[in-house]
Structures are given as C-alpha cells and as structure tokens.
Amino acid sequence: MLNANKRKTIILLIPVVLVLAGYVLYPSIATLIESFKKNGLFSLANYQDFFGAKAAANFEALWNSVYISLLSVFFSALIGIPLAYVFNRYDFPGRQFFSNIAIMPIVLPSLVGVMAFMFLYGEAGLVPNAIKDLFNLSKVPFSIGGISGILVVHAYTMYPYFYMTTASALNNIDPSLEEAAYNLGSNKFKVFWKVTFPLLTPGLVAASLLVFMVSMASFSAPFLLAGGFRVLSLQIYFSKINGDLEMAATQSIILSAVSISFLLFMRWYQNRKDYRMASKGIGVHRSEVRNPILKWIMVTIGIIAVIILLLPHVTLLMLSLVPEGAWTWQTYPQAFSFENYSLLFDNTTIWEPVRNSLIMTCLACAGVFIFGIITSYALVKRSFIGKNLLDILVMIPWALPATVVGMNLILAFNKPTPFSFGHILVGTFWILPLAYFVRFIPLVVRSTNAVLEQMDDSLEEAAQNLGAKWFYTFRRVVIPIIMPGVLSGTLLAFVQAIGEFPTSVLLYTLSNRPISIEIMNQLRMFNMGQAAAYGMIQVGLIAIVMYIAYRFFGVKSENTL
C-alpha cells in the first residue's frame, strides 16, 4: 500500500513530468533522431563522422569548449563569490546600492554587450588607448581578444549566476555556525574555506552548472571575439550554415552529453554531504562588524567594483549618444547628441517590441516561477525513482545551445500536438513565451534547489503536525523560506528573457517581435548608435523591473532570517 508520502510525491510529479515530457523531452527527441539520420536514413554515420573523419576539428572544438567552460566557471566564481560575500555579510555605507549594481552585467544585451567590450578593451578600445595616451606608451598596454577575450566576457556576464545563488544561500546560513568556527580559533579565511564555502555548496553547484552550460553553448563571445577559434557551439552553427543539419544535431547531442555529465558529476559531489542546517532553534543574530578600516576597505571595493561593472554600460550609453560618423576612426568619440534617440522615437512603433518583450517575459516568468518551485521541491525534498533523469530533463534546455532549443520547438510544434492542445504553435504569439519558459526553467530550478537543500525538514513537519495540508504548508512555510532563491532565479530568467536573441530570432512573428530582434536589425543596418540606444532602453527597462522586484519582494525576503 502506498503511504501518504508516496501519494503526495506522485501527485506532485504528474504535472512536472507532463510539462517536461511535452515541452522538453518530446522536442529534444527530434534532435536525437535527427542525429541518427543521414540523407533521410537511419544510421550511425554522423557519429562515425564526428569521431572519425572530422574528429580532429571536433575534438579540438570539444576540448576548447570544455576547458573554456571550466575556466569560465572558475573565473565567474572568483568574482561572484567574494562579491556576494562582501555585499551580504558586511554592513557599510552604500551596500544596498552596490549589491543592486552587482547583477547589472546580465542586463547587457548579448551582442551589443560584446561590442561594447570591444569598444572598451579591444586594441582600439577606450581603456587601453586612454592608458596609452596617458603614459605616452608606444603601444597599447593590453587588449582583449581570443581566448582571453572570451574569458573576460564570460566572467563578466556569468558571474551574476554565482553572485545571485551565493547571496541567497548565504542568507540562509545559520550565523552561529561561523561563530562556532571563529570560536574554535579559525581566522576569517579558514572560516570561509572550511565552513561558509562548503555550506554554500548547493548554491555553488547550481551556479557552476548554469555557468558551465551557458559557456558550453555560448555563442556571441567566441564568435565575435575569437573568430577562428574552434568551439563546439560555433561548430554547430557552421554545420547548420553549411546545411548539414544532421551533423549539427550530432554535435548538439555531444555537447549536451558533456553538459549532462558535468551535471551528474556535480550532483554526485553535492550528495556526498548534508547541508541542512538542522541545528537547534534558530540562528539568533547577524554578525556585527565595527572595524572602521574594514568598513572603508569594503566601500572602496564596492566603488571599484561598481565602476568596472558599469563601464560596459557606460560605453553602451556613449555609443547611443554618439551621432553617426563621430566615432568611427577616432579613438575617442567626437560629439554627443540625442540624434539616435530622436531617430528611434520618430518611429511610432518603437514601443511595440518593448511591450511584446515585457508581456512575453512576464508570461514566461510566471510559468517558470511556479513550475520551477514545484520541480525543485520534488527534486530536493522527495525521493522517487528516476530523480537523476528528471534532473537531466530539467537541465536539457540549458545544456543545448539556444538555437537548437529553438529548432526543437519548431520541429515539435509546427504540427498539431496534444501538448499544444491540437494547435500549430509555430507562427503564433504563444511559441515565444513557451520558448522562454522552456529555456529558463533551469534557472529557477537550480537557484531554488540551492536554498531548499539548506532548509531543515522539520519545519515542514511542524506545519503538517499543526494540521496544515501539504499545499498550505508549501505556501506558507516552504515558499517564504526559499523565496530569496526563487526570486533570484526568476529575476535571472526575467533579465535573460527580455534580451533573449537566439531562439527569438527563429520563432518570432510579426505580432510578437521582441527587443533583441530590433537591436539586431539596427546592427545589420550598421546603425550602431541606434542599436545602442535600443540597448539602453532594454537596460533601463530591466533596471526598473529590478527596482520594483526589490521594492516589493526584496523587503519580504529579507525577513526570512
């Protein structure tokens, strides 16, 4: 006989499995099948090609992808964790402001963002040339490009994953654990390494997974910064451009396989230990810091970080303010005006993409918010057979390159299916919100997992014991406690969805063209300035949403400790 617990697990799993099967598994199978086709026939030829004829290039690409991804994880962690620690653990003037700025990098629209980087740090970029002119050097002292460029851009744009998950996990750590470590004589460094850091493991695992997979599938940065450098995501692109769809599918499958192996490895690593803060009672307090020197060191770190973090945005702003022709061969822009903006605003339909993006993003975010919480809860707090499989399914939309996800959706929904309630979704408004939803499920699930792993089970038990039904318990006890994690995931999803390009470009229609497409079109018409101005609109939009989120949810989530 099934006990009550098992029954609940099953009820919980039904919607999760249905959604994942319908919108993730079913479309992905198309890719898998495609990879086993050659000229319409079933064969292993593509894999033979991959590992045989084209092995040299493919392996080089695979290896490059893997090591760039690992380095990206490393560097993102190197920036994100300390920043999260400093901004969340110390109270100093401006802390709140700094910590809001800290996630600005994801706000940067991907393509123009990378361009901004080139304008900033490239060989002809502002920073190297300013230094050169300042010190009268004969050559620029440094410039980014190639692998270093990829890594800089990756670290910059991906560290927020670490920042966000670390920040929410940090707030869930019982401070008395760190105090105990201090009390036993460890210095700050030791306490961090031996206690805080390991307790952050769920959060770090989440972030590592996200970063590893995004950089595996990362496209703009390697494409723009290291043209000839072979990575798997570019190989897929080129295969596709050359019309070799089967090879592209095969390469996608290999890429996902690598990402999924990484996922399994991380899961294993995390499951070796227990991170539930089950100490008695509740951590009573926040550590106090009253060292004035320390305080000002923190403020300085904060200010420097903010400057570095915002430079690309400033560059973007500058680009948007430079009229045509005033910053082509010149090292520094020659004139500023609002020409680009007035050109943009002359167009009466300017706000349409903005509205579309907002609506679709909100829809998708509402979806991932709810679905993410349920899935994550099932994954962390319930035991059932096939958990690993479910976890893999959840991560697939993230492990596959965005274009492939888009292709999958097209193949799956350009005919009526039960999952689309008998409609053709391709070519309709709904396909894009659905794509965003599918793409960003992993963000919410991962960041929610991180905080759920830390939650003591007895809280839920207490609520049930008081007679609360499962759903009530979930709503009133579990959700408020994990809110910081859920929100940070949803916020990440929101920010990304607003600027999403690679799947949008495949799926948008007249009625739902999003901002990123508009930016891309401006770029294609060589209107760098107007593209940048559009980018600034996007940045502003996200900034507003983040402010609102902070106002209405941030305050509440502070209460969880």
Binding site: L2, A4, N5, A278, A462, N465, Y472, I481, T560
Partner: protein
C-alpha cells in the same frame, strides 16, 4: 482523545536499528512519559506516532484505527520538536497562530487564543517579535505554545522544557497538566528530568537502546524497578552484586561478595523482584534510604566507612561513604543547614534498612 497503540514497531535507518519490536498501549487521556538514555529511540518513536517516519515494521493505531500510513496532517497530533522547528520567517504570533489558521478559526478567536496561550507561557510581551530575536528558552516556549494552542487529540512533547529554568519549568508543567486534564488530551512526554517524569506522569516507559524495559506508574518504576538498568537509570541508587543464600523467617538472606557480608532483606514482592535462576542478582538501595550516623546503629546490614565527599545539591546533601577500595556508598539527607554537613574523613556507620532494599536481576540481552 485517543488511545495510542504501537504494536511490534521496528525502525531501521540503514543498518542502525533505532527502535526494536516496541509494544505499547497508551490509554485515553493518559500522561505517558518516555524515559531513556540519549539515543535510545525516543524521538524516533514520537516521530512515528506523529507520522514523519513510517515504521520499518509494525503498526501504529489510534483508537483501533490503523494510522501507520496516514499523513501527518490528518493525525491531529500536536508536537513540540526537540529542535523547536519554529518558522523563521514568522513572528511569535504567526508561529502560534499557524495551527489555528489552518483550522479556519475566525481572526478574533485566533487573536484571543494566541494571546491566552502566550500569557500562559509568559511570552505575551514578545507577541510581535521575530522568533530569531528570542532567547533559547523563549523559543522553546513558543514551540510549546504552538502545540498547545490547537488542543490536539494527542500531544507529543519532546523535551519541551529542557531549556527553561526550574521555576518556569514548574509553571509550565502545571500548565501542561492542567490543559491535559481539562481536555483529556492523551500526552506522550519525553524528558530527561526525572523529577519531571516522576511528578507528572500517569505512567512511564523506560527505554534502552530501542527496547522498552519497564512500563509502570512513577512509584512502581522508582520503588520496584524490574532490573538493574531501570534501578540505575531512574534516580540514584547503590547497586551491589549479590547472591542468594537462604530464607529466614520473613526475610531472605543474600551474600555480597564486595563487602563480604550477609544482607537481610524483607521477603516481600516490594523488596525482591521476580528473577530466574540464570539471572545475575543485584541489591539496590536508594541513597535516601541509607541511614547514616556517627553513632553506633542497631540491627542488620550495618557497615562502617569514612566520608569521602559531601555534595550539596540545594534541598539535599549527598554524603559519599567509602566502605573499602572498591565500594563507595552514596547517601542522601535533607539539607538542614551547613552545621549539619559531615566533614570528609569522618568515620560513620551506615545501615541499609531491610525493608528498603530491593533485589533485582541484571538486564537481559
């Protein structure tokens, strides 16, 4: 109001067996206490009753209804968790009101009830605080209030007063008892405080490593322990191995090798526990039963020794008397002021009164 019936309950965690073949019937409205050393499976048993663990084997029944696999929220038990399990994101009020809200009680009623119970646990002025800003004892009282306020059928209290001072603890005990009697709530109580167990309970079960040794009323357990584990575990006792020598009138005579002397014991059910021939035998005599005097004492079972330690515990004074190299006997007397304390080294006579010795078998298994 329910009976709780555990039959042949076993709970294993991997290869650890926390509870082993436990059989218990707790009556309706009874105040039942689990006593036992740390790690013997008390919490595990409570959790099976509350429904958080499913027994590996055996059945949990409330009033003959099989509850073994029923969800916790359908059991109407109120539990105070050993680690409190307060909701960190709620205030004191919200924590306590949680169970009432679930029961769809009106706002005003909730306010009233929460106010009342918080007054009872002396926390009324903390009603609006975040629970993380409370001291350990205050948190424990919130946990207690939260379980009491819903007036459950079965109250499961896992060391609910361990972090309270003696005064408050007594007040809380009275409060729990009052509630329990008033509503006839079947209560299962885990405590390490023996005074608490002995004063509050209708019946007590004494556990050791997953097994129940004795179930009985407080006086039964204290005065008529069934074996040496129970005697040792409940209260203080002086335990000496003995062997049976002979029957003499209304007395039995035992021989104690450690003191090389005969011990006379009244031959009643109170003084001699049932035992079989294979059992190792012990005599147990409570420190407070031992007579101690600097003057000569009349009668049987008199020994001499010297005071090795005098320990002050408030109402009582423990005097440890060293009989020989192996044996020190503990005696307890009421505190009648410093002038009455014996000095260390004093030669004293002690006597084990014949009617207050209990002969018991050694623990089995």
């Amino acid at each position: 109001m329910s009976t709780v019936n555990l039959s042949e309950i076993t709970k294993r965690f991997g290869d650890v067996t926390a509870v082993k073949g436990l059989d218990l019937l707790i009556k309706e409205g009874e105040f039942f206490t689990f006593l036992g050393p740390s790690g013997c499976g008390k919490t595990t048993t409570l959790r099976m009753i509350a429904g958080f663990y499913y027994p590996t084997e055996g059945k949990v029944k409330f009033n003959d209804k099989d509850m073994t696999r029923v969800a916790p929220e359908k059991r109407n038990t109120g539990m105070v968790f050993q680690n409190y399990a307060l909701f960190p994101h709620m205030t004191v009020f919200e924590n306590v009101a949680f169970g009432l809200k679930v029961r769809k009680i009106s706002k005003t009623e909730i306010k009233k009830k929460v106010g009342d119970v918080l007054k009872k646990v002396r926390l009324d002025q903390y009603i609006g605080r975040q629970v993380s800003q409370l001291s350990g004892g205050q948190q424990q009282r919130v946990a207690l209030a939260r379980a009491l306020v819903i007036e459950p059928d079965i109250l499961l209290l896992d060391e609910p007063l361990s972090n309270l001072d003696a005064k408050l603890r007594e007040e809380m005990r009275t409060e729990i008892l009052r509630l329990q009697r008033e509503y006839g709530i079947t209560t299962i109580y885990v405590t390490h405080d023996q005074v608490e167990a002995l004063t509050m309970s209708d019946r007590i079960a004494v556990f050791n490593i997953g097994k129940c040794h004795q179930v009985g009323t407080p006086t039964e357990i204290y005065n008529k322990p069934v074996n040496d584990f129970v005697a040792k575990f409940i209260g203080e006792t002086n335990l000496l191995p003995v062997s049976f020598k002979e029957h003499k009138d209304t007395k039995s005579v035992f021989y104690t090798p450690d003191m090389d002397q005969s011990i006379f014991v009244h031959n009643t059910e109170l003084n001699i526990a049932s035992y079989t021939n294979e059992d190792k035998l012990y005599m147990s005599v409570r420190p407070e039963a031992v007579k101690i005097d600097t003057n000569k004492l009349d009668g049987n079972n008199v020994f001499t020794g010297s005071v090795s330690l005098v320990q002050f515990t408030g109402e009582a004074v423990h005097t440890y008397v060293k009989m020989n190299d192996q044996i020190t006997i503990k005696t307890t007397n009421l505190n009648k002021g410093p002038s009455t304390y014996l000095n260390e080294g004093t030669e004293v006579n002690i006597q084990f009164p014949e009617d207050q010795i209990r002969v018991i078998p050694g623990e089995k298994g």
